[in-house]
Protein backbone atom coordinates (compact mmCIF):
# COMPACT_ATOMS: atom_id res chain seq x y z
CA UNK A 1 0.00 0.00 0.00
CA UNK A 2 1.42 3.42 -0.94
CA UNK A 3 1.49 6.25 1.57
CA UNK A 4 -0.64 9.37 1.55
CA UNK A 5 1.78 10.94 4.00
CA UNK A 6 5.36 9.90 4.49
CA UNK A 7 7.98 11.75 6.52
CA UNK A 8 11.59 10.92 7.26
CA UNK A 9 13.57 12.52 10.07
CA UNK A 10 11.20 15.45 10.16
CA UNK A 11 12.50 17.92 12.73
CA UNK A 12 11.44 21.30 14.02
CA UNK A 13 13.35 23.21 16.61
CA UNK A 14 13.03 26.71 17.98
CA UNK A 15 16.52 27.59 19.16
CA UNK A 16 17.44 24.93 21.71
CA UNK A 17 13.84 23.79 22.08
CA UNK A 18 13.11 20.73 19.92
CA UNK A 19 9.39 20.47 19.12
CA UNK A 20 9.62 17.50 16.75
CA UNK A 21 12.71 15.33 16.57
CA UNK A 22 13.53 13.09 13.60
CA UNK A 23 9.94 11.96 13.14
CA UNK A 24 9.62 9.13 10.63
CA UNK A 25 6.24 7.62 9.83
CA UNK A 26 3.85 6.86 7.04
CA UNK A 27 0.08 7.11 6.70
CA UNK A 28 -1.23 4.45 4.29
CA UNK A 29 -3.54 5.59 1.49
CA UNK A 30 -7.21 5.10 2.30
CA UNK A 31 -6.60 4.44 5.99
CA UNK A 32 -7.87 6.20 9.07
CA UNK A 33 -4.69 6.92 10.97
CA UNK A 34 -4.69 8.15 14.54
CA UNK A 35 -2.10 10.65 15.70
CA UNK A 36 -1.73 10.52 19.46
CA UNK A 37 0.58 11.86 22.10
CA UNK A 38 0.46 13.89 25.32
CA UNK A 39 0.03 17.66 25.18
CA UNK A 40 3.17 19.31 23.88
CA UNK A 41 4.42 16.14 22.22
CA UNK A 42 4.62 17.84 18.81
CA UNK A 43 1.40 16.69 17.11
CA UNK A 44 0.18 20.13 16.03
CA UNK A 45 3.68 21.20 14.97
CA UNK A 46 3.92 18.09 12.79
CA UNK A 47 0.50 18.77 11.27
CA UNK A 48 1.47 22.38 10.58
CA UNK A 49 4.63 21.22 8.84
CA UNK A 50 2.57 18.87 6.67
CA UNK A 51 0.33 21.80 5.74
CA UNK A 52 3.16 24.17 4.84
CA UNK A 53 2.41 26.52 7.74
CA UNK A 54 5.70 25.84 9.51
CA UNK A 55 9.04 25.19 7.82
CA UNK A 56 10.84 22.10 9.09
CA UNK A 57 14.39 22.62 10.32
CA UNK A 58 15.31 19.17 9.08
CA UNK A 59 14.07 16.06 7.33
CA UNK A 60 11.93 15.44 4.31
CA UNK A 61 8.42 14.31 3.56
CA UNK A 62 5.77 13.84 0.95
CA UNK A 63 2.02 14.38 1.02
CA UNK A 64 -0.06 12.80 -1.76
CA UNK A 65 3.15 12.24 -3.70
CA UNK A 66 4.49 15.82 -3.53
CA UNK A 67 7.26 17.15 -1.37
CA UNK A 68 6.21 19.06 1.73
CA UNK A 69 8.48 21.87 0.54
CA UNK A 70 5.94 22.51 -2.24
CA UNK A 71 2.58 22.52 -0.43
CA UNK A 72 0.84 24.26 -3.35
CA UNK A 73 1.11 20.94 -5.24
CA UNK A 74 -1.01 18.97 -2.78
CA UNK A 75 -3.01 21.37 -0.59
CA UNK A 76 -5.85 21.73 -3.13
CA UNK A 77 -6.53 18.02 -2.44
CA UNK A 78 -6.17 18.29 1.33
CA UNK A 79 -8.77 19.29 3.91
CA UNK A 80 -7.65 20.34 7.36
CA UNK A 81 -8.95 21.33 10.75
CA UNK A 82 -6.00 22.58 12.77
CA UNK A 83 -6.07 23.23 16.50
CA UNK A 84 -9.77 23.96 16.68
CA UNK A 85 -12.08 25.88 14.38
CA UNK A 86 -10.95 29.41 13.48
CA UNK A 87 -13.44 31.65 11.72
CA UNK A 88 -14.53 35.29 11.48
CA UNK A 89 -16.91 35.90 14.42
CA UNK A 90 -18.96 38.59 12.65
CA UNK A 91 -19.67 36.43 9.60
CA UNK A 92 -22.29 33.70 9.48
CA UNK A 93 -21.33 30.05 9.18
CA UNK A 94 -22.36 30.11 5.53
CA UNK A 95 -20.38 33.29 4.80
CA UNK A 96 -17.32 31.85 6.51
CA UNK A 97 -17.50 28.78 4.30
CA UNK A 98 -18.14 31.00 1.26
CA UNK A 99 -14.92 32.90 2.00
CA UNK A 100 -12.96 29.63 2.00
CA UNK A 101 -14.86 28.28 -1.04
CA UNK A 102 -14.00 31.48 -2.93
CA UNK A 103 -10.35 31.16 -1.91
CA UNK A 104 -10.14 27.55 -3.01
CA UNK A 105 -12.37 28.08 -6.08
CA UNK A 106 -14.81 25.42 -4.90
CA UNK A 107 -18.40 25.36 -6.21
CA UNK A 108 -20.90 27.35 -4.13
CA UNK A 109 -23.39 24.48 -3.87
CA UNK A 110 -20.73 22.52 -2.00
CA UNK A 111 -21.17 24.95 0.91
CA UNK A 112 -24.88 24.21 1.28
CA UNK A 113 -24.28 20.51 0.85
CA UNK A 114 -21.68 20.48 3.64
CA UNK A 115 -23.76 22.61 5.98
CA UNK A 116 -26.42 19.93 5.58
CA UNK A 117 -23.88 17.11 6.12
CA UNK A 118 -22.61 18.54 9.43
CA UNK A 119 -26.10 19.45 10.63
CA UNK A 120 -25.71 23.22 10.53
CA UNK A 121 -28.17 24.04 7.75
CA UNK A 122 -30.67 25.54 10.22
CA UNK A 123 -28.10 27.88 11.75
CA UNK A 124 -26.11 28.58 8.60
CA UNK A 125 -27.05 32.26 8.58
CA UNK A 126 -26.30 32.88 12.26
CA UNK A 127 -23.08 34.63 13.12
CA UNK A 128 -20.18 32.35 14.02
CA UNK A 129 -19.79 34.11 17.38
CA UNK A 130 -23.24 32.88 18.41
CA UNK A 131 -22.36 29.22 17.81
CA UNK A 132 -21.80 26.72 20.61
CA UNK A 133 -18.43 24.96 20.79
CA UNK A 134 -19.93 21.89 19.14
CA UNK A 135 -21.39 23.94 16.29
CA UNK A 136 -18.05 25.68 15.75
CA UNK A 137 -16.40 22.29 15.56
CA UNK A 138 -18.96 21.11 13.00
CA UNK A 139 -18.29 24.19 10.90
CA UNK A 140 -14.56 23.44 11.12
CA UNK A 141 -15.19 19.93 9.86
CA UNK A 142 -17.33 21.31 7.02
CA UNK A 143 -14.51 23.68 6.06
CA UNK A 144 -12.07 20.79 6.03
CA UNK A 145 -14.36 18.84 3.71
CA UNK A 146 -14.77 21.74 1.23
CA UNK A 147 -12.20 20.49 -1.31
CA UNK A 148 -13.69 16.96 -1.32
CA UNK A 149 -10.26 15.97 -0.04
CA UNK A 150 -8.13 12.96 -0.83
CA UNK A 151 -6.45 13.52 2.52
CA UNK A 152 -8.24 14.88 5.55
CA UNK A 153 -6.11 16.11 8.45
CA UNK A 154 -8.10 16.70 11.62
CA UNK A 155 -6.68 18.02 14.86
CA UNK A 156 -9.04 17.14 17.75
CA UNK A 157 -12.22 17.02 15.61
CA UNK A 158 -14.43 15.81 18.46
CA UNK A 159 -13.46 18.58 20.86
CA UNK A 160 -16.61 20.10 22.32
CA UNK A 161 -18.98 17.63 20.67
CA UNK A 162 -21.64 15.82 22.66
CA UNK A 163 -21.81 11.99 22.50
CA UNK A 164 -24.15 12.04 19.50
CA UNK A 165 -21.86 14.53 17.74
CA UNK A 166 -18.88 12.28 18.44
CA UNK A 167 -20.82 9.35 17.03
CA UNK A 168 -21.66 11.37 13.90
CA UNK A 169 -18.02 12.31 13.38
CA UNK A 170 -16.99 8.69 13.83
CA UNK A 171 -19.55 7.61 11.22
CA UNK A 172 -18.50 10.41 8.89
CA UNK A 173 -14.83 9.45 9.11
CA UNK A 174 -15.71 5.81 8.50
CA UNK A 175 -17.74 6.77 5.42
CA UNK A 176 -14.92 8.94 4.12
CA UNK A 177 -12.41 6.13 4.57
CA UNK A 178 -14.75 3.77 2.73
CA UNK A 179 -14.88 6.21 -0.18
CA UNK A 180 -11.07 6.19 -0.36
CA UNK A 181 -10.24 9.35 1.58
CA UNK A 182 -7.21 9.05 3.83
CA UNK A 183 -7.91 10.44 7.29
CA UNK A 184 -5.14 11.54 9.64
CA UNK A 185 -6.74 12.39 12.93
CA UNK A 186 -5.32 13.54 16.23
CA UNK A 187 -7.41 13.15 19.34
CA UNK A 188 -7.19 12.73 23.07
CA UNK A 189 -10.25 10.47 23.00
CA UNK A 190 -8.24 7.28 22.74
CA UNK A 191 -11.29 5.05 22.88
CA UNK A 192 -12.52 6.82 19.74
CA UNK A 193 -9.14 6.47 18.07
CA UNK A 194 -9.12 2.77 18.92
CA UNK A 195 -12.57 2.35 17.41
CA UNK A 196 -11.98 4.18 14.14
CA UNK A 197 -8.28 4.01 13.35
CA UNK A 198 -6.64 1.15 11.55
CA UNK A 199 -3.20 2.65 11.92
CA UNK A 200 -1.54 4.82 14.49
CA UNK A 201 1.34 7.23 14.98
CA UNK A 202 2.28 7.85 18.59
CA UNK A 203 4.48 10.73 19.68
CA UNK A 204 6.26 11.41 22.94
CA UNK A 205 8.37 14.49 23.55
CA UNK A 206 8.62 15.15 19.83
CA UNK A 207 9.70 11.63 18.94
CA UNK A 208 7.70 8.92 17.20
CA UNK A 209 7.46 5.97 19.59
CA UNK A 210 5.13 3.87 17.46
CA UNK A 211 4.00 3.91 13.86
CA UNK A 212 2.00 1.06 12.39
CA UNK A 213 -1.26 -0.86 12.53
CA UNK A 214 -3.33 -0.32 15.68
CA UNK A 215 -3.96 -4.06 16.13
CA UNK A 216 -0.21 -4.75 15.99
CA UNK A 217 0.40 -2.29 18.79
CA UNK A 218 -2.32 -3.77 20.98
CA UNK A 219 -1.35 -7.37 20.22
CA UNK A 220 2.21 -6.66 21.28
CA UNK A 221 1.05 -5.64 24.74
CA UNK A 222 0.93 -8.08 27.65
CA UNK A 223 -2.71 -9.10 28.31
CA UNK A 224 -4.30 -8.88 31.72
CA UNK A 225 -5.51 -12.13 33.29
CA UNK A 226 -8.29 -11.80 35.85
CA UNK A 227 -8.81 -14.72 38.22
CA UNK A 228 -11.60 -14.75 40.80
CA UNK A 229 -11.92 -17.65 43.25
CA UNK A 230 -15.39 -19.07 43.86
CA UNK A 231 -14.82 -18.69 47.58
CA UNK A 232 -13.54 -15.25 48.64
CA UNK A 233 -11.57 -16.87 51.48
CA UNK A 234 -9.34 -18.55 48.85
CA UNK A 235 -8.09 -15.21 47.51
CA UNK A 236 -4.90 -15.24 49.61
CA UNK A 237 -4.17 -18.87 48.73
CA UNK A 238 -4.70 -18.08 45.06
CA UNK A 239 -2.19 -15.24 45.40
CA UNK A 240 0.35 -17.75 46.76
CA UNK A 241 -0.31 -20.00 43.75
CA UNK A 242 0.35 -17.06 41.41
CA UNK A 243 3.58 -16.25 43.23
CA UNK A 244 4.66 -19.89 43.03
CA UNK A 245 4.31 -19.55 39.26
CA UNK A 246 6.75 -16.57 39.36
CA UNK A 247 4.15 -13.89 38.62
CA UNK A 248 3.12 -10.79 40.53
CA UNK A 249 -0.47 -9.72 40.96
CA UNK A 250 -2.82 -7.00 42.12
CA UNK A 251 -6.02 -7.52 44.10
CA UNK A 252 -8.91 -5.63 42.53
CA UNK A 253 -12.56 -6.09 43.58
CA UNK A 254 -12.05 -9.58 45.07
CA UNK A 255 -10.07 -10.85 42.08
CA UNK A 256 -6.42 -11.10 41.13
CA UNK A 257 -5.07 -9.21 38.13
CA UNK A 258 -1.94 -10.65 36.59
CA UNK A 259 0.01 -9.37 33.59
CA UNK A 260 0.87 -12.50 31.62
CA UNK A 261 0.61 -14.12 28.19
CA UNK A 262 -2.83 -15.51 27.29
CA UNK A 263 -1.58 -19.12 27.38
CA UNK A 264 -0.47 -18.71 30.97
CA UNK A 265 -4.15 -18.68 32.08
CA UNK A 266 -4.28 -22.49 31.57
CA UNK A 267 -1.26 -22.98 33.86
CA UNK A 268 -2.93 -20.87 36.53
CA UNK A 269 -6.20 -22.78 36.20
CA UNK A 270 -4.37 -26.09 36.56
CA UNK A 271 -2.30 -24.95 39.58
CA UNK A 272 -5.36 -23.49 41.31
CA UNK A 273 -7.28 -26.74 40.81
CA UNK A 274 -4.35 -28.75 42.19
CA UNK A 275 -4.37 -26.47 45.27
CA UNK A 276 -8.08 -27.10 45.78
CA UNK A 277 -9.22 -23.67 44.60
CA UNK A 278 -12.15 -23.41 42.26
CA UNK A 279 -12.09 -20.42 39.97
CA UNK A 280 -15.43 -18.69 39.39
CA UNK A 281 -13.92 -16.43 36.77
CA UNK A 282 -10.82 -16.64 34.59
CA UNK A 283 -10.52 -14.24 31.68
CA UNK A 284 -7.87 -12.53 29.63
CA UNK A 285 -8.17 -8.92 28.57
CA UNK A 286 -6.06 -7.14 25.95
CA UNK A 287 -5.10 -3.69 27.21
CA UNK A 288 -7.04 -0.84 25.67
CA UNK A 289 -5.30 1.79 23.59
CA UNK A 290 -5.68 4.15 26.52
CA UNK A 291 -3.83 1.75 28.85
CA UNK A 292 -1.18 1.15 26.22
CA UNK A 293 -0.85 4.89 25.64
CA UNK A 294 -0.26 5.54 29.33
CA UNK A 295 2.24 2.69 29.52
CA UNK A 296 4.18 4.01 26.54
CA UNK A 297 4.05 7.68 27.39
CA UNK A 298 4.41 7.29 31.16
CA UNK A 299 6.10 10.22 32.78
CA UNK A 300 5.85 12.40 29.70
CA UNK A 301 2.63 14.26 30.29
Amino acid sequence: MTSAVSVQDLTKSYGNQVAVSHATFAVPHGSVCGFVGPNGSGKTTTIRMLLGLISPTGGTGTVLGSSISEPENYLPRVGALIEGPAFYPALSGRENLNVLATLGKFPKDRVDQLLETVGLADRANSKFKTYSLGMKQRLGIAAALLPDPQLLILDEPTNGLDPSGIHEVRTLLGDLAQSGTTVFVSSHLLSEIEMICDSLVMLREGRVIFSGATHELLAAQQPLIIARPENARDLEALGQVVESLQKSFKVVDGALEIMAPTQWAASLNRAAFESGITLAELQTQLPTLEETFFDMTEGAS
Binding site: R48, G52, L75, Y88, A90, N98, L103, K105
Partner: protein
Protein backbone atom coordinates in the same frame (compact mmCIF):
# COMPACT_ATOMS: atom_id res chain seq x y z
CA UNK B 1 -4.63 36.37 -6.42
CA UNK B 2 -8.08 37.12 -7.84
CA UNK B 3 -9.57 34.41 -5.61
CA UNK B 4 -7.95 36.01 -2.55
CA UNK B 5 -9.20 39.42 -3.68
CA UNK B 6 -12.77 38.11 -4.02
CA UNK B 7 -12.60 36.31 -0.67
CA UNK B 8 -11.29 39.46 1.02
CA UNK B 9 -14.08 41.54 -0.52
CA UNK B 10 -16.58 39.13 1.03
CA UNK B 11 -15.09 39.93 4.44
CA UNK B 12 -14.93 43.66 3.81
CA UNK B 13 -18.59 43.92 2.89
CA UNK B 14 -19.78 42.51 6.20
CA UNK B 15 -22.40 44.81 7.72
CA UNK B 16 -20.41 45.54 10.87
CA UNK B 17 -17.51 46.96 8.86
CA UNK B 18 -18.80 48.22 5.53
CA UNK B 19 -21.54 50.68 6.49
CA UNK B 20 -20.00 52.02 9.72
CA UNK B 21 -16.71 52.70 7.93
CA UNK B 22 -18.37 54.49 5.03
CA UNK B 23 -20.56 56.45 7.44
CA UNK B 24 -17.57 57.45 9.57
CA UNK B 25 -15.53 58.53 6.55
CA UNK B 26 -18.29 60.47 4.85
CA UNK B 27 -19.44 61.92 8.20
CA UNK B 28 -15.96 63.29 8.98
CA UNK B 29 -15.59 64.70 5.48
CA UNK B 30 -19.05 66.25 5.71
CA UNK B 31 -18.18 67.83 9.05
CA UNK B 32 -14.92 69.29 7.73
CA UNK B 33 -16.63 70.65 4.63
CA UNK B 34 -19.61 72.03 6.51
CA UNK B 35 -17.40 73.83 9.06
CA UNK B 36 -15.42 75.37 6.21
CA UNK B 37 -18.55 77.10 4.87
CA UNK B 38 -20.53 77.64 8.05
CA UNK B 39 -17.60 79.27 9.91
CA UNK B 40 -16.40 81.32 6.95
CA UNK B 41 -16.78 84.57 8.86
CA UNK B 42 -15.52 83.23 12.16
CA UNK B 43 -12.56 85.17 13.64
CA UNK B 44 -11.19 81.83 14.94
CA UNK B 45 -10.81 80.53 11.40
CA UNK B 46 -12.65 77.85 9.45
CA UNK B 47 -9.87 75.57 8.23
CA UNK B 48 -7.27 73.24 9.69
CA UNK B 49 -5.39 74.52 12.73
CA UNK B 50 -7.37 77.76 12.78
CA UNK B 51 -6.49 78.69 9.20
CA UNK B 52 -8.84 81.27 7.61
CA UNK B 53 -10.14 80.19 4.23
CA UNK B 54 -11.93 83.10 2.59
CA UNK B 55 -14.89 83.06 0.22
CA UNK B 56 -12.56 84.37 -2.47
CA UNK B 57 -10.20 81.42 -1.94
CA UNK B 58 -13.08 78.96 -2.03
CA UNK B 59 -14.38 80.50 -5.24
CA UNK B 60 -11.16 79.50 -7.04
CA UNK B 61 -11.24 76.49 -9.43
CA UNK B 62 -9.91 74.18 -6.68
CA UNK B 63 -12.29 75.61 -4.06
CA UNK B 64 -14.65 72.68 -4.41
CA UNK B 65 -12.05 70.20 -3.16
CA UNK B 66 -10.80 72.27 -0.22
CA UNK B 67 -13.04 70.68 2.37
CA UNK B 68 -12.51 67.21 0.98
CA UNK B 69 -8.73 67.60 1.02
CA UNK B 70 -8.82 68.97 4.57
CA UNK B 71 -10.32 65.65 5.67
CA UNK B 72 -7.73 63.59 3.81
CA UNK B 73 -5.63 62.77 6.89
CA UNK B 74 -8.76 61.58 8.70
CA UNK B 75 -9.67 59.40 5.72
CA UNK B 76 -6.10 58.12 5.87
CA UNK B 77 -6.45 57.27 9.55
CA UNK B 78 -9.66 55.38 8.81
CA UNK B 79 -7.87 53.46 6.04
CA UNK B 80 -4.98 52.76 8.41
CA UNK B 81 -7.40 51.27 10.94
CA UNK B 82 -9.21 49.13 8.35
CA UNK B 83 -6.01 47.81 6.74
CA UNK B 84 -4.39 47.13 10.12
CA UNK B 85 -7.45 45.40 11.56
CA UNK B 86 -8.16 43.30 8.48
CA UNK B 87 -4.56 42.11 8.39
CA UNK B 88 -3.88 41.56 12.07
CA UNK B 89 -7.23 39.87 12.76
CA UNK B 90 -6.12 36.91 10.65
CA UNK B 91 -3.56 36.21 13.37
CA UNK B 92 -5.81 36.86 16.37
CA UNK B 93 -8.72 34.81 14.98
CA UNK B 94 -6.31 32.12 13.76
CA UNK B 95 -7.90 32.34 10.31
CA UNK B 96 -4.57 32.85 8.57
CA UNK B 97 -3.94 29.10 8.73
CA UNK B 98 -7.24 28.43 6.90
CA UNK B 99 -6.32 30.97 4.24
CA UNK B 100 -2.84 29.55 3.73
CA UNK B 101 -4.12 26.00 3.48
CA UNK B 102 -6.51 27.10 0.74
CA UNK B 103 -3.97 29.43 -0.92
CA UNK B 104 -0.41 28.38 -0.04
CA UNK B 105 1.23 31.15 -2.10
CA UNK B 106 1.76 33.75 0.60
CA UNK B 107 2.57 36.52 -1.86
CA UNK B 108 -0.76 35.92 -3.61
CA UNK B 109 -2.50 36.12 -0.23
CA UNK B 110 -0.75 39.38 0.58
CA UNK B 111 -1.33 40.83 -2.88
CA UNK B 112 -5.00 39.83 -2.98
CA UNK B 113 -5.68 41.26 0.46
CA UNK B 114 -3.88 44.49 -0.40
CA UNK B 115 -5.78 44.89 -3.65
CA UNK B 116 -9.13 44.29 -1.95
CA UNK B 117 -8.41 46.76 0.82
CA UNK B 118 -7.14 49.31 -1.70
CA UNK B 119 -10.43 48.96 -3.59
CA UNK B 120 -12.25 49.55 -0.33
CA UNK B 121 -10.09 52.65 0.26
CA UNK B 122 -11.04 53.91 -3.22
CA UNK B 123 -14.70 53.44 -2.31
CA UNK B 124 -14.22 55.31 0.98
CA UNK B 125 -12.60 58.20 -0.89
CA UNK B 126 -15.24 58.23 -3.64
CA UNK B 127 -18.20 58.26 -1.23
CA UNK B 128 -16.56 60.88 0.99
CA UNK B 129 -15.80 63.04 -2.06
CA UNK B 130 -19.37 62.78 -3.29
CA UNK B 131 -20.72 63.83 0.13
CA UNK B 132 -18.21 66.66 0.45
CA UNK B 133 -18.84 68.01 -3.06
CA UNK B 134 -22.62 67.86 -2.64
CA UNK B 135 -22.33 69.75 0.65
CA UNK B 136 -19.97 72.32 -0.87
CA UNK B 137 -22.41 73.07 -3.67
CA UNK B 138 -25.26 73.20 -1.17
CA UNK B 139 -23.53 75.54 1.29
CA UNK B 140 -21.64 77.75 -1.20
CA UNK B 141 -24.53 80.18 -1.76
CA UNK B 142 -25.00 80.91 1.93
CA UNK B 143 -21.28 81.54 2.35
CA UNK B 144 -21.18 83.86 -0.69
CA UNK B 145 -18.82 81.49 -2.49
CA UNK B 146 -19.06 81.43 -6.27
CA UNK B 147 -19.19 77.96 -7.80
CA UNK B 148 -18.71 79.13 -11.40
CA UNK B 149 -15.02 78.21 -11.62
CA UNK B 150 -15.54 74.83 -9.93
CA UNK B 151 -17.04 73.41 -13.09
CA UNK B 152 -14.61 75.09 -15.47
CA UNK B 153 -11.89 73.03 -17.20
CA UNK B 154 -9.41 74.13 -14.50
CA UNK B 155 -11.91 73.29 -11.81
CA UNK B 156 -12.54 69.81 -13.21
CA UNK B 157 -8.78 69.22 -13.47
CA UNK B 158 -8.28 70.36 -9.86
CA UNK B 159 -11.07 68.04 -8.72
CA UNK B 160 -9.57 65.10 -10.59
CA UNK B 161 -6.11 65.86 -9.18
CA UNK B 162 -7.51 66.04 -5.67
CA UNK B 163 -9.36 62.74 -6.07
CA UNK B 164 -6.21 61.01 -7.30
CA UNK B 165 -4.00 62.57 -4.63
CA UNK B 166 -6.35 61.80 -1.74
CA UNK B 167 -6.82 58.25 -3.03
CA UNK B 168 -3.06 57.71 -3.27
CA UNK B 169 -2.52 59.15 0.20
CA UNK B 170 -5.38 57.13 1.70
CA UNK B 171 -3.99 53.91 0.25
CA UNK B 172 -0.57 55.01 1.54
CA UNK B 173 -1.94 55.43 5.06
CA UNK B 174 -3.67 52.05 4.67
CA UNK B 175 -0.40 50.44 3.61
CA UNK B 176 1.19 51.87 6.74
CA UNK B 177 -1.62 50.17 8.71
CA UNK B 178 -1.13 46.88 6.89
CA UNK B 179 2.60 46.97 7.61
CA UNK B 180 1.86 47.52 11.32
CA UNK B 181 -0.75 44.75 11.27
CA UNK B 182 1.73 42.28 9.81
CA UNK B 183 4.50 43.33 12.17
CA UNK B 184 2.47 43.39 15.39
CA UNK B 185 -0.14 40.72 14.54
CA UNK B 186 -2.66 42.39 16.83
CA UNK B 187 -5.45 44.73 15.62
CA UNK B 188 -5.51 46.75 18.84
CA UNK B 189 -1.75 47.27 19.02
CA UNK B 190 -1.35 48.09 15.35
CA UNK B 191 -4.29 50.54 15.29
CA UNK B 192 -3.24 52.19 18.56
CA UNK B 193 0.37 52.62 17.52
CA UNK B 194 -0.56 53.79 14.00
CA UNK B 195 -3.13 56.34 15.13
CA UNK B 196 -1.05 57.65 18.02
CA UNK B 197 1.94 58.02 15.71
CA UNK B 198 0.05 59.81 12.93
CA UNK B 199 -2.17 62.06 15.02
CA UNK B 200 -0.06 62.74 18.09
CA UNK B 201 3.63 61.86 17.80
CA UNK B 202 4.14 63.35 14.36
CA UNK B 203 2.33 66.58 15.26
CA UNK B 204 4.37 66.90 18.47
CA UNK B 205 7.62 66.26 16.62
CA UNK B 206 6.67 68.75 13.91
CA UNK B 207 5.91 71.39 16.54
CA UNK B 208 9.14 70.80 18.44
CA UNK B 209 11.74 70.00 15.76
CA UNK B 210 11.92 72.43 12.88
CA UNK B 211 11.84 70.78 9.43
CA UNK B 212 11.35 67.23 10.71
CA UNK B 213 8.01 66.93 8.90
CA UNK B 214 9.96 66.24 5.71
CA UNK B 215 10.97 62.88 7.17
CA UNK B 216 7.72 61.76 8.81
CA UNK B 217 5.51 59.32 6.87
CA UNK B 218 2.22 60.84 7.99
CA UNK B 219 3.30 64.38 7.06
CA UNK B 220 4.61 63.18 3.71
CA UNK B 221 1.31 61.44 2.93
CA UNK B 222 -0.69 64.48 4.05
CA UNK B 223 1.34 66.61 1.68
CA UNK B 224 0.54 64.15 -1.14
CA UNK B 225 -3.18 64.42 -0.38
CA UNK B 226 -3.13 68.20 -0.57
CA UNK B 227 -0.82 68.37 -3.59
CA UNK B 228 2.04 69.75 -1.47
CA UNK B 229 2.13 71.38 1.96
CA UNK B 230 1.51 75.10 2.32
CA UNK B 231 2.26 77.06 5.51
CA UNK B 232 0.00 79.73 7.06
CA UNK B 233 1.75 82.52 5.15
CA UNK B 234 1.20 80.69 1.87
CA UNK B 235 4.77 79.54 1.27
CA UNK B 236 5.35 75.97 0.21
CA UNK B 237 6.75 73.76 3.00
CA UNK B 238 6.96 70.52 1.07
CA UNK B 239 6.51 69.99 -2.66
CA UNK B 240 4.08 67.42 -3.99
CA UNK B 241 6.87 65.51 -5.73
CA UNK B 242 8.97 65.40 -2.56
CA UNK B 243 5.97 64.17 -0.57
CA UNK B 244 5.22 61.52 -3.17
CA UNK B 245 8.82 60.31 -3.36
CA UNK B 246 9.24 60.27 0.43
CA UNK B 247 5.93 58.44 0.94
CA UNK B 248 6.83 55.92 -1.76
CA UNK B 249 10.16 55.23 -0.03
CA UNK B 250 8.46 54.57 3.30
CA UNK B 251 5.66 52.49 1.83
CA UNK B 252 7.89 50.44 -0.48
CA UNK B 253 10.54 49.88 2.18
CA UNK B 254 7.94 48.78 4.70
CA UNK B 255 6.11 46.63 2.17
CA UNK B 256 9.28 44.80 1.16
CA UNK B 257 10.22 44.20 4.80
CA UNK B 258 6.83 42.78 5.79
CA UNK B 259 6.53 40.76 2.58
CA UNK B 260 9.77 38.97 3.41
CA UNK B 261 8.60 38.47 7.00
CA UNK B 262 5.18 37.22 5.92
CA UNK B 263 6.67 34.81 3.42
CA UNK B 264 9.19 33.32 5.83
CA UNK B 265 7.50 33.49 9.20
CA UNK B 266 5.99 30.30 10.64
CA UNK B 267 2.24 30.39 11.17
CA UNK B 268 2.19 28.97 14.65
CA UNK B 269 -1.02 30.44 16.08
Amino acid sequence: MIAVLRAELRKLRRPTLFLPTLLAASGLTALTTALLYLLIDSPDGNGREGMKVTAERLSAPDGLVFGFQSAATLLGVIALCVFAAQTAQEYTYGTLRNILVRQPSRMKVLGGKYLAMSLFAVLIVAVSAAVSFALAFGLAGGAKVSTVLWTSADGRQATLNALVNVTVATIGFGTFGMILGLLLRSPISSIAIGVIWILIVENLLTAVVNGIDKYLPGQLLTSVSTGGSISFDGTQVMSYKYGLAGSALYVLGGAILVSILFKRRDVAN
